[in-house]
Amino acid sequence: MDTLLFIVFAIVAVACALNLILQSHPISSALSLIGVMCSLAVLYLLLGAEFIAMAQMIVYGGAVMVLFVFVIMLMNAGAEKRSGKSWFAQFAGPPLLVLFAAVLAFLILRAVPKLRTVEFGTWVGGTAEHIGQMLFTEYLLPFEVISILILIAIMGAVVLASKEID
């Protein structure tokens, strides 16, 4: 059952990701991205990380993507026109892509030497309690640093958006 769900939602995620690149209309791309986010949430759920799954849905599937869709709708962006591909992209693109994927796979294998098969439903560390414990003990410093970073970003946005620019 878990494996079946994993296969279905992994396929959905990959298909949505491909669709995101291939679609020419921004709204279709944005919706594909929502599809990717939501299927990723299901994958997290299958791994036992229910809090992360819901946070993924709320933050990425909801808040972030609503802003994307909102901006696209507000700008009323039309379908992109396909420009003629450059000579370089046409011929060197596919080999370079394969090379990039190979390097990425090599680096991952180097970084994590002993890959184990994932077993669904065995890991129990994804509840809200666990996440809270980890955030406020082991990962307290990164957590606080990130919150300050986000605060700076918000203040920057407010300064940029305010009309009192002289």
Binding site: L31, A41, F51, A55, I58, G61, F70, M73, T127, A128
Partner: protein, 394 residues
């Protein structure tokens, strides 16, 4: 096997009751609004217009299904289904009562418990804005687009106070699952004040509850926050181009969202299925209420205001008396009393929705945004900080 069978039965019951509630909520809304405005409301189809929802369903199903040529077809057709499907999901994790035993099987009055239930409802609410936004955009119509844009902006803005204010009952209950939140509110202070979250310190959570309800009105696009479908400026807003069953889907989604969010409010603040009075007295309340209703109906039947009331009111009276007898029997009491309390709280909140619709005018758009960001958001934040302080100290 047993688990699947029980789940299936529960799903059928919850789905049936939910759909009937949605249909009749519309009848109740029309009736209550009519009486607020000194009218009578639907009266022709069935006694007191009770068959009106059925007639409406047939009307909506048999209307011509228009597909305007200028719309973006995929999104135009998909939007109503996104809206209605997401609106109907959340009810599956709402508990209506405690654990009960029916024919030797113990089960909860809930389709399924999720241990991050509150987050699940928030996640579904976060996604469900796409139904409205896409409907507005794909209709290729400036009024629809404005409605969709307003809806997404409004939902992002009001989600913040809503989420912040939800955190305080969670801090008090120390759990994310609705079942545990409901269980945590059992018992009484001084023997008569129920330990519902709304009566909890710091200075009773009633402020949190009020903020929650205001944000809930905005999240469900109801008056006074129904800017996405403001009919005097936007024709009908995001569903201007929709007809027949596709329009009905949006309609159903709106009512389903209303019911879900009132259920959430009941569970988070009003103690879910926990009765208002301590045990021996709380069992008499439903009996007394239904007896009173039955007697009232009989009195109306004796002095009928309309000709047919002579025949319809005795039937209502008998139904109410039968319910009163049912609530007096010990076994039924055990099963039905939690549902009675849950339904009466949800019913009261839904009535408030309609009451407010009959009372308040619509906000202006800038007022709406100003209200959310400069008043509601700080209030929710202060409420959260005080609750956290209280929980930390005691």
């Amino acid at each position: 096997m047993n688990f699947f069978l029980i789940s299936l039965i529960k799903i059928v019951i919850v789905f049936g009751v939910f759909m009937t509630t949605l249909a009749y909520l519309q009848w109740v809304e029309r009736k209550v609004l009519a009486h607020i405005q000194s009218r009578t409301g639907p009266l022709r189809v069935g006694p007191h217009g009770l068959m009106q929802p059925l007639a409406d369903v047939f009307k909506l199903l048999t209307k011509e299904d228009l597909l305007p040529p200028y719309v973006n077809r995929i999104f135009y057709l998909g939007a109503p289904f996104i809206a209605v499907a997401l609106a109907l999901i959340s009810i599956s994790i709402i508990p209506f009562g405690p654990e009960i035993a029916v024919a030797g099987t113990r089960t909860y009055m809930q389709v399924g418990d999720v241990n991050v239930g509150v987050l699940f409802v928030l996640a579904i609410a976060a996604i469900s804005v796409y139904g409205v936004a896409l409907a507005g955009w794909s209709s290729n119509n400036k009024y629809s687009l404005l409605g969709g844009l307003r809806s997404s902006a409004q939902m992002i803005s009001y989600e913040l106070p809503l989420t912040l204010v939800i955190v305080s009952p969670l801090l008090l209950a120390n759990h994310l699952s609705f079942r545990e939140i409901g269980n945590s509110q059992a018992g009484y202070y001084l023997g008569f004040i129920p330990r519902w979250n709304i009566f909890q310190m710091p200075f009773p959570q009633i402020f949190g509850f009020i903020i929650f309800m205001i944000a809930a009105f905005a999240e469900t696009n109801r008056i006074p926050f129904d800017l996405p479908e403001a009919e005097n400026e936007l024709v009908a807003g995001f569903h201007t181009e929709y007809s027949s069953m596709k329009f009905a889907c949006f309609f159903m989604a709106e009512y389903a969202n209303m019911v879900t969010i009132t259920c959430v409010a009941t569970l988070l603040f009003l103690g879910g299925w926990q009765p208002l009075f301590p045990a021996p007295y709380s069992n008499y309340v439903p009996v007394a209420v239904f007896l009173f209703a039955g007697v009232l109906c009989f009195l109306h039947a004796v002095r009928p205001a309309r000709k047919r009331d002579r025949y319809t009111f005795p039937v209502f009276a008998l139904a109410a008396l039968a319910l009163a007898i049912l609530f007096a029997l010990p076994w039924f009491q055990f099963v039905l009393a939690p549902i009675f309390w849950f339904a009466s709280k949800v019913g009261f909140l839904l009535f408030t929705y309609i009451w407010v619709r009959g009372t308040l005018p619509r906000f202006r758009y800038d007022q709406l945004m100003h209200f959310a960001w400069t008043f509601l958001f700080p209030c929710a934040l202060i409420n959260l900080l005080l609750t956290a302080l209280f929980v930390a100290i005691f």
